[in-house]
Amino acid sequence: MAGAALLGAHFSIAAFSQAPLSPAKIQLHGVISGYLEPYFTQNWSLFAPDPTKDDQGIVARAKCADGAVTDYYDVTGPLIKETQEDRFFPSRTVRLVSNGLNQLNDSDDLLWRLRQKQKEENSEDSEVKDGKRKGEIPLTPYEKSQHKDAERSLSRFALTQIRNVCPDGTGPTAVQARMYIKKLPPWSQRNNSKAKSTLDIYDLPWKKAVELQ
């Protein structure tokens, strides 16, 4: 009986942690995460509510000891090919990229909602009285540090993948990763053979190799 009661309590907390954002959840956040983290942490919003739709990845270029800058090398492509060719426990190395890319814009539910709301308000406002825009919510220290960490880990990963690209044999002195987001044609265009993907590019800053250690 005691075991069943404990089990009930445990799963109530676990289930509550998976509920959508609510005032109650914000209020109890400390208690809930205090109990669940790190050993009972769980997240079951698998591919939901908005699954990944785009072909994302990074390419990277290096600066060599003589100051020359190399061409861009495809970092993600070969890893994806490897994953696609192996259906029996493929290596998970490609996740270092997808995880880093997600982390670049990592936020939390509440901030995300507030920003979304503000965006809507701003777009409504601009129709009525143009030019006047409410100040956007600045990035929080947490978001900034997540972004920085992601930049570092993506750059470091890129560096380890293009170590041998400098002609003189010594490793690159600096690396720059470029993120690409290829939006594939939407469902409505699936039968249109002329439909094209759109490409967004975002350059990460140059990182010195020594600072990535």
């Binding site: 998976q18 942490t41 769980q42 509510p49 699954p51 426990f89 998970r92 996740r95």
Partner: protein
């Protein structure tokens, strides 16, 4: 049957003993393959050396921030790293083949947790589930089948006082129920989040997900995502299945069908999306709902096997106590069995 009698019978008969042994073996195998599929790159991915993709000091920062624990955090020595890693391989292998009992399962749990924490960017829902289920498995009698017993455990248990020994079956059942509730939570939550998503509502989610190169099986996935009917049916049946999973499990007549549907669903995730470990972890946990079906299948296989051996003169068929029917529904067992 009165409620008290029901509680009594639920506490005195082990449920899903065969299924839970299958869960243990398959989870061990998935863990083993996690080690082996990264074996060649272990130093790059998990090691303490200068060539590591996640330098050891940053890994320590992560651990500290999360308030977590990892054996790999204890030392920056290569020897320590290799020892812990290889011990992990052996423990996972032992759990898979059923050697060493629950003590080794606990060791495996600690070792695989340590490795997961070393490179947390690798983790997905399957690893998350394995982390949660291993402690629950420790409550259960998950070495009753598919295992080698040295007899040490039986001798230890034999020396325990009766009052402690009598806790074995209730604890086992508690562990099984915990896994069952966890699975329901996983499926219902992931189903309800899908209900809220635009592309899931539109019935086009499968089209979008299966095109993402990381989750694509070239030459095959396009046959599915270019077929409007398959995309719609696949998307909607996924959501419906996930949301109604607990109902399918609670109704005994639907239970094996629900579990079989879940296995089919996850086999296709494994094949089409390349998420082998995730798929097999989910299947491993679904096995607890399939004990009676597994038991029937095993008896059938034995009967066929015996018929074969009978055709060859000289060999005598043996009957073991493992031929006893297995049940995952305690209320339906007509004769009480002694707790083993």
């Amino acid at each position: 049957m009165s409620i008290m009698k029901k509680i009594d019978s639920a506490a005195s008969r082990p449920v899903a003993a065969l299924g839970v042994s299958g869960t243990r073996a398959l989870l061990g195998f998935v863990g083993l393959m996690y080690y082996l599929s990264h074996y060649g790159d272990r130093s790059y991915l998990f090691g303490p050396g200068a060539d590591s993709v996640l330098p050891h000091h940053l890994f320590l920062d992560q651990i500290r921030e999360k308030g977590s624990f990892s054996l790999y955090a204890w030392s920056t020595s290569e020897v320590w790293f290799e020892a812990v890693f290889h011990l992990g391989v052996l423990a996972a292998l032992a759990v898979t083949v059923g050697v060493g009992g629950r003590a080794v399962l606990a060791v495996h749990g600690i070792l695989i947790w340590s490795l997961y924490e070393r490179q947390s960017a690798f983790l997905d829902g399957g690893d998350n589930l394995a982390q949660l289920v291993i402690p629950m498995l420790l409550l259960t009698n998950c070495y009753q089948n598919f295992s080698f017993s040295s007899g040490v455990a039986d001798r230890v248990i034999g020396r325990l006082p009766e009052s402690v020994r009598s806790l074995g079956v209730p604890l086992h059942n508690l562990g099984v129920v915990a896994i069952a509730v966890q699975m329901c939570l996983v499926y219902v939550v992931s189903g309800l989040y899908k209900v809220q998503g635009d592309v899931w509502q539109d019935g086009t989610a499968l089209f979008y997900i299966m095109r993402v190169p990381e989750f694509e099986l070239p030459g095959v996935s396009n046959l599915v995502y270019n077929n409007d009917v398959l995309v719609f049916l696949g998307t909607y049946s996924t959501t419906l299945f996930l949301v109604y999973f607990p109902m399918g499990i609670l109704v005994p007549a639907l239970r094996p069908w629900t579990a079989a549907a879940s296995i089919a669903f996850h086999v296709s995730i494994g094949v089409f999306m390349g998420l082998t470990a995730f798929a097999l972890t989910m299947i491993a946990c679904d096995l607890i709902f399939l004990s009676s079906a597994l038991s029937r299948a095993r008896r059938m296989a034995r009967t066929i096997g015996k018929r074969r051996t009978r055709e060859q003169p000289g060999s005598i068929p043996t009957v073991t106590d493992q031929d006893a029917p297995e049940s995952d529904t305690p209320d339906r067992v007509p004769v009480p069995q002694a707790a083993r």
